[in-house]
Amino acid sequence: MSEVDKYLDDMFDRLSGTGEAGRRTLAETEDHLRMGIEEGLARHLSMHEAEHEAVARFGSPASIARQLRRSYRPRWWRPALTAAWLIASLGLVALGTSYLMSVIDAASPALLHSGRQSLCTGSTGVACAASASPWANVVAGLVLLLTGLILLAAGWLAIHYAWLAAPGRRIRRLTAALFGVAGLGLLVSPPLTGVPRMDGILGYQQGAGWRVSLIASAVAMLTAIVVLATRSRVQWGPYDPRSRRHGPSAAGR
């Protein structure tokens, strides 16, 4: 295998996942190297010398691949907007789900005998969902859940048409970390009822408040796991709706 072929293979490996931008760079690199060889041969270099010189002049594949990836990195505000959208929409979905699950839990016969009356003592939010009028809370839960789902769908469309950046690994990790911390916080903090009783699991009585905390915590943890497990298809370059393709040449056509 020639030195140029080895170089192109290395470049190909380093450009993996860059889509059309990478494919185009690889074609340009090959063209450039072949021209360099022709120039070297015209100066009476041997084939081996001409290849070596062309490759040496081109620079390290690692550095060029890194620069190319940097060139296509989204502008800072787009990832920030994506992070805000993802956290807000998933937060609404998680909150709505917690509300609905708490209502269901409160409606269960077991709960009627395990401290349902204490649910709203000195607290607000999800915990109260279980003890107030159930239908009002079902509506509140559904509104939160649907708003979150609509926001998620709108964001997905915005990503599809390249108005928003696709959530990259960092954004997904940040979102998952936030939900994970929230889930852990709900587990170790006082129950959402705000009525600590020092004779149960984690220092609190296993009453309705603890159950609400557990539900909210489980939903937050589950959200974190789903976000981490979801793979994002990274789109490179602006999206051209006419050709339905991403990449710099899509915009330039």
Partner: protein, 116 residues
């Protein structure tokens, strides 16, 4: 010295490429590198591959446009300045001239007192 030149070039590569494209007209990467090398009398001797990410950035910003050359024996991407690119080049050239004049005004003065 090459390291210094390399550092210096990093912030100005796009401007140099716009200038080279303006001088040569539509050209592919290899020709642009050659133009940079020749016009600078070999001062700008940078790794040739770094030109392509810079050209992609310029295209992404709408300052250059490119297309595959039709009828060439090999697949070859040809770049050209856009109207926005020409305007940007003019503006950057003015900035650069003012900057270079300022640096020159300071550096051109003889250093006094260091050669006792």
């Amino acid at each position: 010295m090459p390291i210094f030149l390399g550092m210096d070039l990093r912030g100005h590569l796009e401007l140099l490429l716009l200038g080279a494209l303006h001088a040569t007209g539509p050209a592919h990467g290899y020709a642009l590198i050659a133009a940079l090398r020749e016009r600078s009398d070999g001062t700008f001797h940078l790794p040739e591959g770094t030109v392509y990410p810079a050209l992609h950035r310029l295209e992404r910003d709408g300052l250059v446009a490119s297309e595959w050359e039709v009828g060439a024996p090999r697949r070859r991407r040809v770049y050209r300045l856009t109207a926005e690119g020409s305007a940007a080049l003019q503006a950057k050239r003015r900035e650069w001239t003012a900057f270079a004049n300022g640096v020159q005004a300071i550096l051109a003065r003889p250093i006094v007192g260091s050669m006792a």
